[in-house]
């Protein structure tokens, strides 16, 4: 899918300071070696299976299917992974790679805190030092995750610059990486940033679609009609799409966070409202003003609150292979509540965006059709925020 310098069509590339160029070249060389190394893959599989709890279940949501009265709905239960989200897949891969490269320190950005917690977890497991950058706003919204990271032995640095959210945490992690490269690996949390990150993160997350395909063939003897996932940077979405890209009959649907609506400024729906630009190491679509200044974005979900999207998604959009729809805060909250009551599964507010879209399209589909929703994370972390959204003043 990528050509030289990590292009996905016109997207991707390596738009980074010269100071980091040898670091990303070293990373690419190491990755190209280890991705085909049987020993590395054995170690990673063991971590996936014995530590993270893979393979994750593909669960038939019978009550939801019957209630919506259309397509059969399956949930890919990434929420059941260790640390409660798909983020652990990428982090275990990158931490193992970093260790092979002789790095002793991981740095990471985090929005909701899921990637930060996953990185702190892997660092604890592998005996590595860990520093997580988190927007100051997000440290307040997700105080419990800040505690979890510290409990796991990581340092959490609140980022005060800019809008003090995810994009600023990424900028600060990049700045930190330029100041300390020799012993430090930047464990980027999504399919974004400079090449080779979008490819590396995609490959580690592709285990999701590999398993969906096997499980679906086993349970139904056929491929699904649609795979639906939420998209911020887009790592769980590309992970659940990847092995279906060649299967043209499988619809791939990414759900962006519309926030208060794509006709408002309080949105984070990049493909729906952004335009082509260059930022955070990549060419892709970004929410920005007419002078190319990156826009402050908004979503109820801290994990989707990012003004850009991974370059491979931008390309899948360009060639029409995947559809990108916008889901509002209100729709996501309704889906959060619906899945909790209907299936006894509390989805992350991020994943609830995908659930919401499935609720829209399933009733109009035939009963012999199949939808897979990638349930990328669990929603325990969101309960206090959703209660507040509904006017109930509880704190964790």
């Amino acid at each position: 899918m990528t050509n030289k310098n990590g292009r996905f069509g016109i997207h991707g590339g390596q738009y980074i300071p010269e100071t980091l160029m040898n670091a990303v070249i070293e990373l690419e060389e190491a990755y190209n070696y280890y991705k085909n190394d049987p020993g590395f893959n054995r170690e990673l599989s063991a971590l996936f299976n014995d530590y993270a709890g893979r393979p994750s279940r593909l669960y038939y949501a019978k009550k939801m299917t019957e209630d919506l009265g259309g397509a059969k709905i399956y949930l890919k239960r990434e929420d059941l992974n260790h640390t409660g989200a798909h983020k652990i897949n990428n982090v275990l891969g990158q931490a193992l790679l970093a260790q092979k490269m002789g790095k002793t320190r991981l740095i990471a950005e985090t929005g909701a805190g899921q990637h930060g917690v996953a990185t702190a977890t892997a660092a604890a497991l592998m005996g590595m030092e860990c520093v997580v950058f988190m927007g100051e706003e997000d440290t307040k919204r997700q105080a419990l995750n800040v505690y979890r990271m510290r409990l796991l032995g990581s340092e959490v640095i609140p980022v005060k610059s800019g809008t003090a959210t995810l994009k600023d945490a990424v900028s600060e992690a990049m700045r930190e990486w330029t100041s300390r490269i020799a012993d430090t690996h930047y464990c980027l949390g999504s399919v974004m940033g400079p090449h080779p990150f979008p490819t590396i993160v995609r490959d580690f997350q592709a285990v999701i679609s590999k398993e969906i395909k096997e499980q679906m063939l086993e349970k139904e003897g056929r491929l699904p009609d649609a795979v639906i996932a939420c998209v911020g940077g887009g790592s769980n979405a590309i992970g659940s799409f990847y092995h279906f890209i060649g299967d043209k009959d499988v619809r791939l649907i990414g759900c962006e966070a519309a926030g208060r609506g794509i006709d408002t400024f309080e949105t984070a729906a990049t493909i729906n409202t952004g335009r082509l630009g260059i930022f955070h190491g990549m060419k892709s679509y970004f929410c920005q003003d007419e002078d190319g200044q990156i826009a402050p974005v908004y979503s109820i979900s801290a994990g989707l609150d990012y003004p850009g999207v991974g370059p491979e998604h931008a390309h899948l959009h360009d060639i029409g292979r995947a559809e990108y729809v916008a889901v509002t805060d209100e729709e996501a909250v309704q889906a959060f509540e619906y899945l909790s009551k209907t299936e006894g599964v509390i989805p992350a507010i991020e994943s609830s965006h995908a659930v919401a879209h499935a609720m829209k399209i399933a009733p109009a589909m035939r009963k012999d059709q199949i939808i897979v929703i990638n349930l990328s994370g669990r929603g325990d972390k969101d309960c206090a925020a959703i209660a507040r959204y509904r006017g109930e003043d509880i704190y964790e």
Binding site: Y15, E18, A23, G162, D168, R175, S179, G292, I294
Partner: protein, 256 residues
Amino acid sequence: MSKIKNAFQNGKAFIPFITCGDPDLATTAAAVRAAAKNGADLIELGIPFSDPTAEGPVIQAANIRALSGGVKTDKIFDLVRELRTDVTVPMVFMTYANVVFSYGAERFISTCAEAGIDGLILPDIPYEEKDEFLPLCRQYGVDLISLIAPTSENRIGMIAKEADGFIYIVSSLGVTGVRSEINTDLGSIVNIIRQNTDVPCAIGFGISTPEQAKKMADLSDGAIVGSAIIKLLAKYGKDAPKHIGAYVKEMKDAIR
């Protein structure tokens, strides 16, 4: 050959950096004139960007002050046209790729040439991505400035061979900002550059005192100072230009 070469004809070059629109464009114009009058050989004009990933806290804050003041790319081009009625010192823009890309690369670079900008520094455009801008820069006679970092190692020769205008040597790891000491073996970097090109090179990042500037200029062809000047703007606001003039004179006298 661009005017940038002239900047290195008066002994070692002193190159100050000023963020446009901090706190307003009238102050920027006065600061540029004060710097030019007091011996600046080349002036770097920063076009503010919302998320300047190569900058430390001092220049980040200047970007925020400028953007909050409502500065726009077109107003900065107007500022340059106005400055060019009397300021002859070479001037280059320092900004991020998205500012240029969003304006339209050809429209931006041709407007630079028309307004009187001699070069362009884009810290998020490494050697591998320069083909997006370099042909247009050469077509319109605007030098795309190459950066070389302490981590460049095996890349120094490759970058130097294709460099235009001058080479910006990043003194140390990390982002822009004042440093108490600089420990990189810059002499070796300059030696490799000189084996590969006649294009002059100047050192920036972390330089604030006349002693540091002298040391860096002795190693290369000039010294670039950003954060120390931005601190004057942060401290004195609209009154900063006279302080910037005095500072530029002190620094140029130290290295000339």
